[in-house]
Every structure is written in structure tokens, then in C-alpha cells.
């Protein structure tokens, strides 16, 4: 399966702490994207990292990609209550005609 696997499945941290979520996949990719979903609503695109990139930043988000290990991580620094959501990685494999395949997701809870 090309699906990404994420760990942990669930993460609960104190507000202000950093949250790290990991994504592993099995195939060669063109890029990897991270999405956030609040309570069963639509998905919000967070960040895209290409296969030739190793790290990207966007505000409090930091994404790394290690294509040799077929893994990525999403770090949210200085977490806030509003960061409580489910986070999904999604991979765009080579020759996949723009189809992205989602990982299993991490449910992040921020305790006030």
C-alpha cells in the first residue's frame, strides 16, 4: 500500500509545549503534504515539501523530509488550544496523476 502511516495515533500535550508527529510511507514520492482537520470539517492545507527538499518552515510549523528513510515529521512549536485537530500527511507518488494518498492521521489535543 502507498498509504502513509502516522504516529502517534493520538497525542495530548500541555499548551505551550511542542508537538511532533511522524509520517512514514513506502513508495517514491514527488512531494509530501500536511493537512489539518478540525472536528470532522474540511481539510486545511498546511505545508508542502518536495522530494528534493529536506526542511520547510511556515510560522510555527516545521516539516522535515528524509527520503532515504521514507519519513517526514511535522513539528508545531509553542502549541495553542486552537491547534487541537487531526493532522494528516499525504503523499504524491511519481506518476500518480496528481492523486494524493493520505496517512492514518494523528489526533492532537492541547490541554489548557
Amino acid at each position: 500500500s502507498q498509504q502513509g502511516e502516522e504516529d502517534p495515533q493520538a497525542l495530548s500535550i500541555q499548551e505551550g509545549e511542542n508537538a511532533t508527529m511522524n509520517c512514514s510511507y513506502k513508495t517514491s514520492i514527488n512531494n509530501l503534504q500536511w493537512y489539518r482537520q478540525n472536528s470532522g470539517r474540511g481539510l486545511v492545507h498546511l505545508i508542502l515539501i518536495r522530494s528534493n527538499e529536506r526542511e520547510k518552515h511556515s510560522g510555527r510549523l516545521r516539516v522535515t523530509l528524509d527520503t532515504s528513510k521514507k519519513s517526514s515529521s511535522l513539528l508545531i512549536t509553542a502549541s495553542r488550544a486552537a491547534d487541537t485537530a487531526s493532522y494528516f500527511c499525504a503523499i504524491l507518488a511519481y506518476s500518480s496523476a496528481s492523486k494524493i494518498i493520505f496517512g492514518s492521521g494523528t489526533r492532537l489535543s492541547i490541554r489548557p
Binding site: 503534504q33 481539510l43 492545507h45 499525504a90 492523486k99 494518498i101
Partner: protein, 114 residues
């Protein structure tokens, strides 16, 4: 920025009936997709909606159960046919503009089948 809308936002349906979900984009897109998200699960790709031709379905999904139309570059429909409680899910459309890499999602349609 471009807007993706879905109708209905939610519905409660009786088993054996069918529901058609609409996805409307306010600008032309190159690709449109339909996903299903079962309760507590991740997203699973149902099919790629092809403009003017039959959709391309993923393994485990068939046209008789999930007929899809895409008459133009801004609109698509997904029908969930002969529904059963197992079809209770969130159905989401997504789009890609100008063959860009990023995929953007509609707000989803929450379906409950009794």
C-alpha cells in the same frame, strides 16, 4: 482566493435511497477528486472526476455505487446509490489548479444513513 463549496453540507437518509452531492468551484480547475472519510478514519480516494468522460475509480469503488459526473471545469457531482448504514461518512471533493501540486478541499458533506 478561489472557493470550493459542497451541497448539501449534511444529510440524513434512509437505507436504499440515493443522494447526489455537488461540488462547485468558482474558477476552472484542472483536476477534481472525490474522497470518503469514514467515522474516525483517514481519507480514502474514491475516484478522479474527468471532465466530459467517465471517472477513474480506485480499487474497491465502482461506478454503479458511486456514479460521478463532471460536465465542465468547475462542477462535479457524486451520487451515493442504494445507501446502507455503512455509507455513513464525510464525502469531500478536492481540486487542483493549473496542475499545481497542492490539492484543496471542499468543506465536506456529512452523510448519515439510517
Amino acid at each position: 482566493s478561489a472557493v470550493i463549496s459542497q451541497k448539501p453540507s449534511r444529510d440524513i437518509c434512509q437505507r436504499g435511497t440515493s443522494l447526489t452531492i455537488q461540488c462547485q468551484v468558482d474558477s476552472q480547475v484542472t483536476m477534481m477528486f472525490w474522497y470518503r472519510q469514514q467515522p474516525g478514519q483517514s481519507l480514502t480516494l474514491i475516484a478522479t472526476a474527468n471532465q466530459g468522460s467517465e471517472a477513474t475509480y480506485e480499487s474497491g469503488f465502482v461506478i454503479d455505487k458511486f456514479p460521478i459526473s463532471r460536465p465542465n471545469l468547475t462542477f462535479s457531482t457524486l451520487t451515493v446509490s442504494n445507501m446502507s448504514p455503512e455509507d455513513s461518512s464525510i464525502y469531500l471533493c478536492s481540486v487542483v489548479w493549473n496542475f499545481q501540486e497542492t490539492q484543496y478541499f471542499g468543506p465536506g458533506t456529512r452523510l448519515l444513513v439510517l
